[in-house]
């Protein structure tokens, strides 16, 4: 069997499971990048690398919280892709983190769109079962629920599979031509992700009395600690 396929299949299963957690079951937030990317890295033998890209993506994910019926990126499958791409790129490869972050973000974008499609299909399936629902059939209600969850699991798995296949192929074509150093690549990702994360935190807390000062104070303490850790 093709080596890439052996890599992609277990990652796709993981992507399906974490994609399911985003909305359908159990919404325990194992789909957050901090967890999903780490699990993906761990599956491939590099939990630490999965965690590092997961932390960077978590900054960005702070901005898109799953409020009601709003449309948001799907981080579960996306973080699994980002974690797997970063974990399987040799340490020190130029642009590795930037490439993995882009892979995750594009997957999150497509994933969000796929969730919208699934929700429309769910509505159509429910309409088709309207007769059973109107009769109060317990079997119809339970069947619909299981069908929705199964479809969501397959959606996440398929999305992860296709994304992994696409980005692994793209990586093998381009990675040797990317020139950004490892440190610069990490700095670019961290700057961009932290900016989005900081703006997201501001958006969430700024209307609470006193929270602005606590955020400013926290940042000052954080800078001092970070400088001390250098």
């Amino acid at each position: 069997m093709d080596a890439n396929l052996l890599l992609i299949l277990p990652v796709a299963v993981l992507g399906g499971l974490f994609g399911l957690d985003v909305v359908s079951f159990p919404q325990a937030m194992i789909s957050r990048p901090l967890v999903a990317a780490t699990a993906s890295g761990a599956l491939l033998g590099y939990p630490g690398r999965g965690l590092v890209i997961g932390i960077a993506l978590e900054f960005i994910a702070l901005e898109s919280l799953p409020f009601g019926a709003s449309r948001y990126p799907e981080w579960g499958s996306a973080a699994v892709v980002g974690g797997a791409i970063f974990a399987t790129t040799p340490d020190g490869t130029p642009s590795a983190m930037t490439f993995a972050a882009v892979a995750a973000l594009v997957t999150a974008w497509v994933g969000g769109w796929s969730m919208v499609l699934l929700r429309r299909w769910n509505a159509r399936w429910a309409k088709r079962q309207q007769e059973g629902i109107a009769r109060g059939s317990g079997g119809t209600v339970v069947g619909l629920q299981l069908a929705g969850m199964t479809a969501d699991l397959l959606r996440g798995g398929l999305l992860t599979f296709l994304s992994m296949a696409g980005f692994l192929a793209l990586r093998s074509e381009t990675i040797h031509r990317l020139v950004m150093t490892n440190t610069m690549s990490r700095a670019v990702v961290v700057s961009t992700a932290s900016a989005v994360g900081l703006a997201a935190i501001w958006k969430v807390v700024h209307s609470t009395s006193g929270a602005r000062w606590l955020l400013a104070g926290g940042l000052a303490i954080g800078f001092v600690i970070a400088a001390g850790l250098l």
Partner: protein, 260 residues
């Protein structure tokens, strides 16, 4: 439509443990077939179903079917606080409350259950749990430690919310609205928001430094870029989402790196 009470009133009664457990487990899958038309509707009926088997006539009886049909219609709420509605509706059905009263509750409950849940969980507890995870990473916790801090913190609140909601809903029935006046739910979001501000403030620079690794010169540039970027994203709020902007910026860097 008025309904003749059929079930034995449940005042002072507890739901059988197996039924409660089954309802609680089903609550984790309440959004399994979420859609833009009935939203949580089917999920509410799915979670209520074990309790509805206790209606006279049992599973498949007329009362069971009538209730299942009623609860499969449109309903929307925060998924964790939907447990309050499920508990209250189970109590109402088993007490034989009139259908009109149940319908009124189903119309009135979604607003408060949605807004309290969004403020407390999505805008409060989740960002706070994330910030604690980021801080643990920045302070050098192990991989398992970072994941445990995040998942442990979040899910203590998450599971407690579902369990409390089911209990409060069952205890108070259709009068459960006053349970939403609980000080924890009313004042909790503000306290959680303040804690999030402080912890996230500390966590952001520390976690950023943890990803970059040693290099004071790089960190200075990163901090300047973060400040400028955060102002830009805040200024663009409502026009462009930050994550989309991040995608374009990072893709542009990859392309630049490729062509240079």
């Amino acid at each position: 439509m008025m309904r003749t009470p059929m079930a034995t009133p449940t005042v002072g009664r507890e739901l059988p443990r197996g039924v409660r457990l089954s309802m609680l487990l089903r609550l984790f899958a309440i959004q399994g077939v979420w859609n833009y038309e009935t939203m949580l509707g089917n999920g509410i009926a799915f979670a209520l179903e074990p309790a509805l088997r206790l209606l006279p006539g049992g599973k498949g009886g007329p009362a069971y079917r009538e209730a299942m049909a009623r609860h499969s219609g449109y309903f929307n709420a925060h998924p964790y606080l939907a447990s309050v509605a499920v508990g209250a509706l189970a109590r109402a059905e088993l007490d034989g409350a009139p259908a009109t009263q149940i319908e009124r509750f189903r119309c009135a409950a979604p607003g408060p259950l949605g807004s309290v849940g969004d403020r407390l969980i999505w805008a409060g507890w989740l960002p706070l749990s994330s910030a604690l995870g980021l801080l643990a990473f920045g302070l050098g916790a192990s991989t398992a430690g970072v994941v445990s801090v995040f998942l442990g913190t979040f899910n203590v609140g998450h599971i407690a919310m579902r369990v409390w909601g089911l209990h409060a809903g069952w205890r108070d029935g259709l009068r459960v609205a006053h349970a939403l006046g609980n000080p924890l739910l009313r004042q909790g979001p503000a306290h959680v928001s303040r804690a999030t501000a402080l912890v996230a403030g500390i966590a952001l620079p520390v976690a950023a430094q943890g990803i970059i690794g040693p290099g004071r010169a790089v960190l200075g540039g990163v901090l300047a870029a973060v400040a400028a970027g955060a102002v830009l994203v805040t200024w663009l709020h409502g026009r462009v989402e930050g994550w989309r902007l991040a995608t374009f910026v990072l893709a542009a860097f990859v392309l630049y790196s490729l062509v240079s």
